[in-house]
Amino acid sequence: MIEVSDLTVRFGGVTSLDAMSVTFEKGTCGLIGPNGAGKTTFFNVLSGFVRPAAGSVSADGENLLKMAHFRRARWGVRRTFQTEQAIEGLSVYENVAMIHEHSKLAGASRRDDVLAAIALVGLDADPDTKVRTLGAGARRLVEVARAIVGKPRVVLLDEPAAGLPDRETEHLGQVIREIPEHTGALVILVDHDMSLVSSCCGVTAVLDFGKLIASGPTAEVLRNEQVVRAYLGTEEVQA
């Protein structure tokens, strides 16, 4: 569970997150909003890349903001990036094992855990294949495998379906839905693909210009007038 209260982030004169308060309980939660709404900034605060001006974040009762960035990953905050960041020079296995060996997990279970994560994302490539030889879809899956190997507690997926064809997005959705059940982690999904968000997320929060404008069951949120306006601009478009 992640409890965020009054989280504010400023870059110079720009307020990227404006007193955001939200709680993500468990399962897969959506976080949506137009471009520049502050979704990635929120993830960057959770991973420790951005220091907030005010507010607090507690994850499973621990003060996340106090931890150094690499310690958060060891604790269980995992993420994927908007521009996919699978390490090209390493094999699929090494990419996933890297997270495992920098966590507190026992080395004895490494091989099994890594292969289990690769299998869970449905990546059929040989684990010894170098990542640079893989296609975009497969690289995304490598990144997701990295985020779920071992004992993740919070998995942040930043537009994992960006640029993927429908068939691969569908597969990715299937994988995302399986993560909480298999790992017990809380998944927060940021994406612009509303069918992906609705099919994966029971609850969804909506950001607009750094402000939380709605949160609740996904179907309700997507019908919310304010949300529709934030996405589409004016009512004329609706008509």
């Binding site: 991973s47 420790g48 890349f49 150094a68 960035h69 690499f70 310690r71 990953a73 060891r74 995992r78 993420r79 990036f81 960041q85 390490i87 090209e88 020079g89 390493l90 090494e94 094992a97 890297m98 997270i99 060996e101 920098h102 966590s103 091989r111 099994d112 292969l115 289990a116 994560a117 690769i118 299998a119 869970l120 994302v121 449905g122 990546l123 059929d124 490539a125 684990p127 893989l134 296609g135 975009a136 879809g137 497969a138 899956l141 990295r146 068939r167 691969e168 597969h171 299937q174 994988v175 399986e178 298999h182």
Partner: protein, 360 residues
């Protein structure tokens, strides 16, 4: 693209594959062993003392290039101070060899460790920088160390901290290990020390630090998100590079037997980076190619009566060529281009015979 996506999600219980060795691992190990035996046993028999000395320098500088290769190729940190680090290693070794009667191997080890500590310390302010700024700060540092060395001079058997007595006319030689007093024997000694350093670096590159460095090189945020303490691993890379360079400095002290500050110039670090890029910074073999370019090529040119100054121009062109056409360096490009040439020749040959048949 990505045909593997077609399969449905499977349960998380794959049969764990048994750990398998790299293909052709044994073949490669055998070839390398034979090559090494030839270098250690055969080469000193074939070469004149002039070239044996040049090859000793190659062995020393291969280790220096290896250290720089770790920084540039593995972690993406461009250091222009490696010649100064080498000078520190040589200075410490010379001082210890004159001041104590410690076995040469101990002196090598201690030089490596002291250089490692100093090299890591001077890299501390560079921890927050990358690219051009890191290159500049390390270059300035190299300049500073060169200035200190020029005023302090290398030890030549004198007393005090610097061990320099000024009477360089009758300065004693820096001693060599008892088992390697002659030039051919010292060459073998240098090669064996070099091989140990290569094994040390390989042991890093192939394991946990190597993976962490690969992540840092591609993207620091991705590395941090993977739980990697990026500062620690960058320091680790500097420590490793400084250690092997310090060891190389100690071997160099025994090789040349008289050390002069004039032989360690700031611009040597730039030349070193140039040959490392040309040889191939991403492969340990590239370090050997770099050392051959840096030390054997001038020896050959000298012998042929050509001024080695031409090399500066050649290296300039070489770096341009590498940066524009082959970022992985000669060690990767040459076999690839030879393969292409072979295919070109054989396909031409086949086409020619086919043409002959069709016309006859």
């Amino acid at each position: 693209m990505a045909t593997e996506l077609a399969s449905p999600v499977r349960p998380a219980s794959p049969p764990p594959a048994p750990p398998r060795l790299e293909q052709g691992f044994f073949v490669r190990a055998a070839i390398i062993s034979v090559l090494l035996l030839f270098v250690v046993i055969g080469l000193p028999q074939l070469l004149s003392i002039y070239y044996i000395d040049a090859m000793t320098q190659v062995a020393v500088y291969a280790v220096v290039a290896l250290g720089l290769g770790v920084l540039v190729g593995r972690v993406g940190l461009v250091s222009l101070g490696q010649a100064a680090i080498l000078a520190i290693g040589a200075w410490v070794a010379a001082r210890l060899l004159f001041a104590t009667s410690l076995p040469f191997e101990f002196v090598i080890l201690i030089s490596g460790i002291i250089t490692m500590v100093l090299g890591t310390l001077v890299s501390l302010p560079a921890m927050r920088m990358r690219g051009l700024f890191l290159a500049l700060i390390t270059l300035m540092l190299a300049g500073a160390i060169t200035v200190v060395l020029a005023s302090l001079n290398f030890p030549n058997g004198g007393n005090g901290f610097s061990g320099y007595n000024g009477a360089s006319l009758h300065a004693p030689q820096i001693r060599r290990p008892g088992i390697a007093t002659t030039d051919p024997a010292y060459f073998r000694y240098a090669v064996i020390v070099g091989v140990l350093m290569f094994l040390l670096v390989l042991a890093h590159v192939r394991t946990r630090p190597g993976r962490a460095w690969a992540a840092i090189r591609q993207s620091e945020p991705a590395a941090q998100a993977a739980g990697i303490n990026t500062t620690l691993y960058k320091l680790w890379a500097f420590a490793l590079a400084s250690f092997v360079t310090g060891v190389a400095g100690a071997v160099l002290a025994g090789a040349v037997r008289y050390l002069y500050s004039i032989d360690f110039q700031t611009q040597d670090s730039i030349k070193l980076l140039a040959v490392v890029l040309m040889g191939g910074a991403y492969s340990v073999w590239g370090a050997i190619v770099a050392a051959l370019l840096l030390q054997l090529l001038p020896a050959i040119l000298n012998n042929a009566g050509v001024s080695p100054d031409w090399l500066v121009i050649l290296f300039g062109i070489g770096v341009l060529q590498v940066l524009t056409t082959a970022p992985t360096g000669i060690v990767d490009q040459l076999p690839r281009d030879l393969g292409r040439l072979y295919r070109l020749v054989t396909s031409r040959g086949r086409r020619a015979t086919a043409d002959e048949r069709s016309t006859s």
